[in-house]
């Protein structure tokens, strides 16, 4: 952004040259694997995921733009934003991979003991994520210079509301994606993490927007 919008045209031209070099190199690499079955399968499966991912993240971007209107240039939300979306995404990926492994091993069934153990596996990353959200708010308040106690409490509450809304939804969706992918016999490497992480980003951004509007 800084270079592209520099006052002289030099910056814009530099960015264009980087793009051109990347484009040429990417085409060169692509031609080397165009006849490989494995590469074609990955590109085909990922393209399907990509359309969905890009659609979701563009909507996420629209909500993030709305957040920027609400909070203006206050730094504390921007400070924690990447950490929030990553944490929710990781909780989703823990649930997704746990479910996929259990399905593959055939150990996921409706017996009370199994359900109990599965609930422990779901609740432990969730509570760990709540611990981290509280830690983020403390660090961010310190770096961002929040001094007033009421402002700090409001900020912690906003992050906790975001956590409850986002993690409950991503947990259910990750479970659903893992089960559906497994049932269809698709390669989970190409679907579960990419889809789940894009959904997590969108869900966290919308949850943050809701929390900011509530408090």
């Amino acid at each position: 952004m800084k270079l592209y919008f520099a006052t002289t045209l030099f910056g814009t031209y530099t960015v264009w040259i980087i793009c051109l070099i990347f484009f040429v190199l990417a085409l060169y690499f692509s031609f080397q694997v165009l006849r490989e079955r494995e590469a074609l399968k990955t590109v085909r499966e990922f393209s399907l995921t990509l359309i969905l991912v890009v659609f979701i993240v563009t909507i996420t971007g629209t909500f993030f733009e709305k957040i920027s209107h609400i909070i203006g240039l206050k730094p504390e939300i921007y400070l924690v934003y990447p950490a929030l979306i990553d944490t929710v995404g990781d909780v989703g990926s823990i649930i997704g991979s746990t479910t996929t492994t259990k399905l593959a091993l055939g150990s996921l069934n409706a017996l009370p003991n199994t359900v109990q153990r599965y609930l422990i596996e779901i609740s432990s990353p969730w509570i760990a994520s709540i611990t981290l959200f509280i830690l983020y708010s403390i660090i961010s308040s310190f770096i961002g210079g929040i001094n007033a106690e009421t402002h700090f409490i409001r900020f912690v509450s906003q992050l906790l509301i975001t956590n409850v809304l986002a993690v409950s939804l991503i947990t259910s969706l990750s479970f659903l994606i893992a089960v559906l992918t497994y049932k269809r016999g698709w390669d989970p490497d190409n679907f579960v993490i990419p889809l789940e992480s894009a959904l997590a980003d969108g869900i966290t951004t919308i949850s943050l927007l809701i929390a900011l509007m509530i408090l």
């Binding site: 952004m1 800084k2 919008f5 960015v15 980087i18 793009c19 070099i21 990347f22 190199l25 990417a26 085409l27 690499f29 080397q32 694997v33 590469a39 990955t42 990922f46 990509l50 890009v54 993240v57 563009t58 909507i59 971007g61 629209t62 993030f64 733009e65 920027s68 730094p75 504390e76 921007y78 400070l79 924690v80 934003y81 990447p82 950490a83 979306i85 990553d86 944490t87 995404g89 990781d90 823990i94 991979s97 422990i120 432990s124 990353p125 509570i127 760990a128 611990t131 981290l132 983020y136 660090i139 961010s140 770096i143 961002g144 490497d189 993490i193 990419p194 992480s197 894009a198 980003d201």
Partner: protein
């Protein structure tokens, strides 16, 4: 008595799982570095109305490609279809890397077109903005590929050599490092 021991077993199981989850999720604390970079350069993002709209998209798409790369490398390392070395690797390693370059190019183009479409609808942007959006996305994705791919491979082989499971270690580390690098490239290019 059996109910009590069952509760105690559940409790210790929970504490163990909680500890593991906290350890793995705590890599995200470094995400605050990416956030700090963003917060320090909010004036740069104010240069174009669409810049806030693009940021989560670039992070997510870059993260998805990183996820595919780390998953493929981990599987290949464990199956022994790629060598634990940087130079003179197998044909399969070559295919994985070329595929990731192709996916990055495809993602940059698709993200650019979708973002331009949405910014035209919501922000009434012009053709010049389309050019700027496509250039910023492609440069950011291209530069991040150049640094993040070797890093992903380095972390995969280091964890594999140490006897750790790259499936568990690589993605959480690389997704956080990628966020910092992508934010850096996005803001400065």
């Amino acid at each position: 008595m059996s109910t009590l021991s069952s509760f105690s077993l559940m409790g210790s199981n929970f504490v163990k799982k909680y500890g593991q989850s906290l350890l793995s999720l705590s890599f995200n604390l470094f995400g605050i570095l990416a956030g700090t970079l963003l917060a320090l350069n909010l004036n740069v993002l104010s240069l174009a109305e669409w810049s806030f709209m693009l940021f989560p998209g670039i992070l997510s798409v870059r993260g998805s490609i990183g996820g595919v790369l780390s998953a493929r490398l981990s599987t290949a390392l464990q199956l022994g279809t790629i060598r634990v070395s940087f130079l003179k690797n197998t044909r399969r390693f070559h295919i994985i890397i070329c595929t990731i370059v192709l996916l990055t190019l495809e993602s940059s183009l698709v993200l650019g077109v979708f973002s331009s479409f949405f910014t035209t609808i919501f922000l009434n942007t012009s053709f010049n903005d389309f050019l700027a959006i496509q250039s910023v996305i492609t440069a950011t994705m291209g530069l991040s590929l150049l640094l993040i791919s070797p890093l992903t491979y380095a972390i995969s082989i280091m964890s594999f050599k140490q006897g750790l499971n790259p499936d568990v270690v690589t993605y959480p580390i690389i997704s956080t490092v990628a966020d910092v690098l992508v934010t850096l490239f996005y803001v400065f290019f």
